[in-house]
């Protein structure tokens, strides 16, 4: 399989168990063989590689941490992080698909759904037969979800949902949307199904980032959602935010994957491209860039590993997840941009991956809590004073 070996300057492989390494290597080989060759074409055409979904399901990366009875592989948090890292080495769009499907939609159903809801949806979502999305963000409420305008009004036998969501990954291709709405009893989560009367999910066009991902609007015009589709365990906004923590954890790892992909690409290029009679990698200006990037990637990897241990022990605080998401997304964006410069003019062609990663990481920097919001979360954690209230 591909020669990609990743960056491991600090021997962090030693921190992994044999199974964790096998999981990482399996997903890595899959990405080398199935994703890297086709992803630039999808990004160019603005299409999501839907043909990969059955393969991802067969591999077992959809809902991998869930118990086997719901179709998962009962993997630990570090395995999940490693899966995200390898998928995002291919493209952030693919990792976004997996994050939203697994960490947001499946996790919400698993954590807050009834037994019947879990049995109905999770095994089929794990097999990739049904795709999930997660509707929290609204056109006018991004960083401040508490102010959401989507309303759930009680009707006979359930609720009627009215409002719209925006920036919803997988929206148009999803069979089930976990939609958060303001009900009489506070914020509640609902399973809105494709084809329900009054529900539509038009795709948003014109993105310059995550071009191989489907991003949609969810429009709910008095959608009647039966009582059986209300998530009984999700009471209040905290439930939705708990799902985001799952996804942010994956983003912290995924960003490192994207950074490593760019680093490897720039290194391979600079070793072979000769100017002034020697490889570009032999010039001090370039070596300084490599040294800086290597240091930043290694630091980010260490954050991930420690965060993985904390999460496995059930001790990862949301501010700790924020720190890793904030640092690693920023780090990856910087690395991708730097690597683009190190590819010279070739770097602007989509034959090379770094510029696509850089463009993707612009979205990663901003979604799942903007860089700035995570800054304020850390500010609040340090000072005890919330700057955004």
């Amino acid at each position: 399989m591909g020669d990609y070996r990743g960056v491991d300057f600090y021997g962090l492989d030693d921190l992994l168990t044999e199974e964790q390494r096998m999981v990482r290597d399996t997903v890595r080989d899959f990405v080398s063989a199935e994703v890297v060759p086709i992803i630039a074409g999808h990004a160019r055409d603005g299409t999501f590689p839907l043909e990969l979904v059955p393969k991802l399901a067969e591999l077992g990366v959809l809902g991998p941490t869930l118990p086997e009875e719901y179709g998962g592989a009962a993997l630990d948090d570090v395995c999940y992080g490693l899966i995200c890292q390898e998928l995002e080495r291919g493209d952030s769009a693919l990792r976004s698909f997996a994050s939203v499907h697994s960490s947001l939609a499946m996790h919400a159903i698993f954590a807050f759904g009834s037994e019947e809801q879990k049995r109905r949806w999770l095994p089929r979502m794990a097999r990739g037969e049904k795709i999930g999305c997660f509707g929290l963000t609204e056109p006018d409420h991004g960083s401040d979800p508490a102010g959401m305008s989507t309303r759930a009004t009680r009707i006979d036998g359930g609720h009627s949902l009215h409002g719209s969501k925006m920036w919803i990954t997988n929206g148009t291709i999803a069979d089930v949307a976990v939609v958060w709405a303001q009900a009489e009893s506070g914020v509640r989560g609902f399973l809105v199904e494709k084809g329900m009367k009054g529900f539509s999910a038009p795709e948003m066009k014109g993105k310059l980032s995550l071009r191989a991902s489907v991003t949609s609007e969810l429009v709910m015009e008095d959608v009647e959602v039966p009582e059986g589709n209300l998530l009984p365990g999700a009471k209040g906004l905290g439930a939705a935010l708990a799902c985001l923590n799952q996804a942010r954890f994956g983003i912290a790892w995924g960003s490192v994957g994207a950074a490593q992909a760019c680093f490897e690409e720039a290194l391979a290029y600079q070793r072979t491209r000769v100017q002034f009679g020697k490889p570009l990698a032999g010039f001090q200006l370039n070596q300084a860039k490599f040294a800086d990037m290597l240091t930043e990637i290694t630091k980010a990897q260490l954050l991930c590993h420690r965060l993985g241990s904390l999460k496995s022990a059930g001790k990862a605080a949301h501010a700790q997840i924020s720190l890793a998401k904030r640092n690693n997304a920023r780090m990856a964006l910087d690395v991708a941009r730097t690597c683009r410069t190190m590819l010279g003019a070739n770097g602007i062609l989509d034959e090379y991956h770094s510029m696509r990663h850089a463009a993707n990481l612009e979205a990663v920097y901003t979604y799942e809590g903007t860089h700035e919001i995570h800054t304020l979360i850390l500010g609040a954690a340090v000072t005890g004073i919330e700057a955004f209230r």
């Binding site: 020669d3 044999e18 399996t26 991998p64 086997e68 009962a74």
Partner: protein, 249 residues
């Protein structure tokens, strides 16, 4: 059907391979090991036969080093059993390796023993066929297609200028050619299942290696290319050199 895939742990061909300080072995620093790619075709074919007709797939390896990672990979792909014959010799010749594997196979009834056509470390391409000889079984090397009938298999192999078709009675020995199939990925569920499975260790009388490695040295560095000129003007000089010096014209 009882299927046995014999597999070997080999250095990843992407790893740098250098002679060690003793001048007789490989420097293992920085070398990562993988399942021999040809053996992966053998494992996959066994799994496909099992998927189609039922049965059991055993993977068997004789190894001087810890091959549990490679065996576990096979279990994660879907093999039912993994058997490891621990061998004190780090490296041995094809004949004694085959003797070791043949002794192990005598203790496990099988319909097909499948090998990769060769291991990508020494590239001998001998072990599977010697095993068949030692066990007195029919063998076909480098098969590119396998059809299982009742009591026999029909196999195809590419020969110069055509395709050979053989019918072979069971039990038999086959070695897999590249392209026999496309090996599956180990699924993540398979990895977790394999984690819980035991690798059975088999103690056997270990034959001496018949081969002594006296010396290993890297190939001489390839001499630098020579630029004889540019464009059409270079042609006469190039032709002269190809004729007089390289003597290929």
């Amino acid at each position: 059907m009882k299927l046995v895939a014999c597999v070997k742990r080999v250095p990843d061909t992407a790893s740098p391979v250098r002679p060690a300080a003793d001048g007789r072995s490989i420097d293992l620093g920085g070398v990562s090991f993988v399942l021999n790619p040809y053996d992966e075709y053998a494992v996959e074919e066994c799994l496909r036969i099992k998927d189609a007709r039922g049965g059991e797939v055993t993977v068997l390896s004789a190894s001087g080093a810890d091959a549990s990672k490679e065996l576990r990979h096979c279990l994660a792909m879907g093999a039912d059993r993994a058997v490891l014959v621990k061998d004190a010799a780090v490296d041995r010749d094809a004949r004694s390796t085959a003797a070791l594997l043949a002794a192990a196979l005598k203790g496990m009834p099988f319909d097909i023993a499948f090998f990769g056509r060769q291991a990508v470390d020494h590239d001998n391409a001998q072990v599977g066929l010697i095993v068949a000889t030692l066990l007195g079984l029919p063998a076909v090397a480098e098969v590119s297609q396998v059809e299982v009938g009742s009591g026999a298999v029909t196999v195809r192999r590419e020969a110069e200028g055509g395709i050979e078709v053989h019918e072979v009675p069971l039990p038999c020995v086959l070695t897999a050619q590249k392209g026999l199939n496309e090996p599956r990925y180990a699924s993540l569920k398979g990895i977790m299942k394999a984690k819980k499975m035991q690798i059975e260790e088999m103690a056997l009388e270990i034959p001496d290696s018949l081969l002594d490695v006296l010396r290993m040295e890297p190939p001489p560095p390839r001499p630098q290319g020579r630029v004889v000129g540019e464009g059409a003007a270079a042609v006469p000089a190039l032709v002269r050199l190809l004729r007089d010096e390289a003597k290929v014209l």
